[in-house]
């Protein structure tokens, strides 16, 4: 770990500030990348990691502040970043599956001879580029036949060019197995020894400690600290990530002892293992865990979207008859899914139709729709949820994210469900709507609905939950009740390996 202050500073970011409407994404952040160093960026969701990376890669222009590369100011365009030697690997894979590795590598920079693409030259060039990182890979292999790690490494090879000085990786290990992670880290170590500066974003603290020389902690858009990795402990990092001011915990549990939802030994091949828990009437139970831990999958099994191979799901003591959403709705379950756009909204339809779609039956007589009753359902929800829409015929797609989410909430509230499942209900909505949605959730519970919440935002988890169930790699790693729910205790359970 040869980190020394005298090492050459490749990138110096000074005082970067970037605001989005309602959110201060970055607030006066200073950041350095040195040659031959791995600098790990850590922080909770929303801490500003992605924003910082995107500014470095030239996707965003900061409101103020500057980035200097070797003492020269960098313009905030992807092209300028590329010329300055910044290579960025994004979280989602960007190879074209039905093309060979060689074709993917020369995409947009085809090797031609007399105007024809030369397969031979393309292949030679790919071999040259791959020789450093993946010497044994056949460049004619199709991208879809690559393992996730190989694909990741091909992308790294592709992104690196001769003049690359800095490699930025956003969650590069999220789709890799443990063995593959080791392989990636070997390569990263090699690149580091070649003098590259590496920025590494990860949720996995063990990985961060394994690979990094410096750890930079962001919280709420501010730089908390940037310290040598060997001078700090895991616990200290977690404390810096969540802040010292531990928020007020809900004092009294609202739940009754009437079990609404019972999940028994739920297992789904390779994803969930023996998940058992209850949600009582009037109680808010939150599933917490890292991305990919299996939280959404639990919700999908309960709501009948995905099949499970073992276990039982009961509502009010009665097993759900069939595994499909219609049966789940009939049993009294509502679901506000994680991805509003693809899973919930009917974009071409009005706000009124979007609310009423799950209870068409209630205002249908002899298959005839009764417009007045539908209008009444809408008016009721509009008033209750304070939906801001000019008329009931306004298309949902024209509303703000917060109002769209309220419409989706209204869809389920109007059904008066026994159990309401909310998967990241405040994702992508502004601060004001967030507060309103939290209030609605609490009200629902007070009225006796059992609420199963899935959330990645710890402040929200702390403010709303009566009980927290922590999921890690498809297992329940712990349960927290009342005053034992703290940011620290949650993070410990979620991140330990």
């Amino acid at each position: 770990m040869a980190r020394a202050a005298d090492q050459h500073v490749l990138l110096q970011a000074n005082n970067l500030t970037k605001a989005f409407p309602g959110v201060m994404a970055l607030n006066g952040v200073n950041f350095q990348v040195r040659a031959g160093e791995v600098n790990a960026l850590v922080g909770e969701n929303g801490a500003g990691k992605s924003t910082l990376i995107k500014i470095i890669a030239g996707y965003y222009t900061p409101d103020s502040g500057e980035i200097k590369i070797n003492g020269e100011s960098l313009k905030f365009t992807t092209k300028a970043a590329h010329i300055a030697g910044i290579a960025t690997i994004h979280q989602d894979h960007q190879l074209i599956p039905n093309m060979s590795v060689a074709e993917n590598i020369s995409l947009g920079m085809w090797e031609t001879k007399y105007g024809f693409v030369s397969k031979r030259r393309e292949s030679e060039r790919a071999e040259g580029i791959l020789s450093e990182i993946l010497p044994n890979l056949d460049p004619q292999k199709l991208a879809k036949a690559l393992s996730p790690a190989e694909a990741q490494l091909v992308e790294i090879s592709k992104a690196l060019s001769e003049n690359s000085k800095i490699l930025v990786m956003d969650e590069p290990t999220s789709s890799l197995s443990a063995v593959e992670v080791d392989r990636l880290f070997e390569i990263v170590a090699k690149l580091k020894n070649n003098g590259l500066g590496i920025v590494f974003v990860s949720h996995w603290l063990d990985e961060v400690f394994k690979i990094s020389d410096t750890i930079t902690v962001l919280r709420d858009g501010k730089l908390v600290d940037s310290v040598p990795a060997n001078s700090i402990t895991r616990d200290e990092i977690i404390r810096k990530m969540v802040g010292r001011d531990i928020k007020e915990v809900k004092s009294t549990s609202q739940g009754t002892s009437k079990k609404v939802l019972e999940v028994k030994n739920l297992s789904r091949n390779g994803i969930l293992e023996n998940i058992s828990f209850n949600v009582n009437a009037g109680e808010i139970v939150t599933l917490v865990g890292l991305e990919g831990a299996g939280r959404s999958e639990i919700a999908e099994c309960i709501f009948g979207i995905e099949k499970y191979h073992k276990g039982e799901i009961l509502v009010d003591g009665v097993p759900i008859s069939k595994s499909n959403p219609k049966a789940a709705i009939k049993a009294g379950i509502g679901l506000v899914p994680e991805d509003r756009h693809s899973q919930a909204m009917l974009p071409k339809m009005s706000v009124k139709n979007n609310i009423s779609v799950a209870l068409l039956k209630s205002f249908t007589r002899l298959s005839w729709l009764l417009p007045k009753e539908e209008e009444a359902i809408y008016a009721n929800m509009k008033a209750r949820l304070k939906i801001k829409a000019p008329t009931s015929e306004t298309k949902i797609a024209t509303l703000s994210g917060g109002n769209q989410q309220k419409v989706i909430l209204g869809r389920w509230l109007s059904l008066n469900p026994k159990l309401l499942i909310l998967d990241e209900p405040t994702k992508g909505v502004d601060v004001a709507a967030k507060a309103e949605i939290s209030k609605i959730i609490t009200e629902m519970a007070t009225l006796g609905t059992a609420v199963l919440l899935i959330s990645s935002e710890l402040p929200e988890v702390l403010a709303l939950s009566d009980r927290v169930i922590v999921i890690r790699s498809g297992n329940i790693s712990g349960e927290l009740i009342g005053s034992s729910i703290t940011q620290k205790s949650i993070m410990d359970l979620a991140m330990a390996i």
Partner: protein
């Protein structure tokens, strides 16, 4: 926006009509109008079913073949097998429903893309029409066919009234019933509809059955018009029908469209055909002109949608809050 679009199509038709009435002495005569309307009925009836299918983001290429099969069966069951006319007609319609059911099952349960599934059934159905008829026209049609074809109500041919009534029924089904709402919802976002408890597959299957049924019905109308059961009839009609839907503003992505506008699309295509005949455009240019009109209508539609989307985005960006950390 949508009403403006319908109005636009109506305007094009009226404008074209005015020009034609100057260009041709025959155009603005009652007889010609009657012929244009009569010629539109078969395509219009098929377009009703096709609209349901396209609304759920599908496509039905088998309608031209279904038209032919129904045409030969409805006549042949009586002429060749000696069944009563009523039974023959009902059987032909049932075959239409059955073909639609098969199409719907292939698309939903077997997950075959609609284009491929109905391409296959198009070929199979056409094959059965040839097998049953031996490739020959089946004549004569029972009397009731020609009686229906010639019947008028207050001077208006019954066929035209019949087609309009079907259109009105379809329009009401789409706009006023629970099923219609489920069609739009499924076409707009099938996953979200499923999560809202709509039996999406069932809705899609019903739409293909409606399309099969309306193609079969159109086949019977065609038999009456031609006074024969014709296995070779309706070649390429599927494309005319789909064109009419697209010109009428039915979105090929599903979830958007109106029967009234589709009828205007059918009328526009019939007028183009009429103009080609009246202005004595050489027969070989026929396809080129029709194709150009379809291309022009589709481009106009894309352009209009672009404007609408741009408007949407403008009003969006004013309200919508960007969320920086969303991946």
């Amino acid at each position: 926006m949508t009403s403006l679009q319908d109005f636009g199509l109506l305007f094009v038709i009226l404008f074209g009509g005015v020009i034609l009435s100057f260009a041709s002495d025959v155009f603005a005569t009652g007889l010609n109008f009657r012929n244009v309307a009569l010629a539109s009925t078969v395509v219009a009836v098929m377009a009703i079913g096709q609209t349901f299918v396209i609304l759920v983001a599908g496509i039905d290429l088998s309608v031209g073949a279904m038209l032919a099969l129904s045409s030969v069966l409805s006549v042949g069951f009586t002429i060749k097998q000696g069944l009563p006319v009523g039974i023959s007609i009902v059987l032909a319609l049932l075959v239409g429903l059955f073909v639609g059911l098969i199409n719907g099952l292939s698309v939903t349960l077997l997950n075959i893309p609609p284009l491929i599934a109905t391409l296959a059934s198009m070929s199979i159905v056409r094959g059965f029409a040839y097998i049953y008829s031996g490739g020959m026209n089946i004549t004569p049609t029972p009397d009731i066919f020609s009686q229906f074809q010639e019947a008028t109500v207050f001077g208006v041919p019954l066929v035209i009234i019949f087609t309009l009534v079907l259109g009105i029924i379809a329009h009401i089904t789409l706009t006023k019933t629970s099923f219609g709402r489920q069609v739009f919802s499924t076409g707009g976002n099938a996953l979200a509809s499923k999560l809202a408890g709509i039996r999406v597959n069932r809705v899609i299957i019903y739409c293909y059955m409606i399309s099969g049924f309306s193609a079969a019905l159109a086949g019977i109308l065609l038999s009456a018009r031609l006074d024969a059961g014709a296995a070779t009839a309706g070649m390429g009609y599927e494309l005319t029908v789909i064109s009419a839907c697209v010109i009428g503003g039915v979105s090929l992505f599903g979830g958007e469209g109106k029967i009234g506008a589709v009828f205007l699309g059918v009328l526009l295509l019939a007028l183009v055909q009429n103009a080609i005949n009246l202005l004595e455009v050489p027969a070989n240019y026929d396809y080129v002109v029709s194709g150009l009109v379809i291309a022009a209508a589709a481009s106009l539609d894309v352009y209009r949608r672009g404007l609408v989307d741009a408007g949407l985005k403008r009003s969006n960006s004013a309200q919508k809050v960007e969320s920086p950390e969303e991946k």
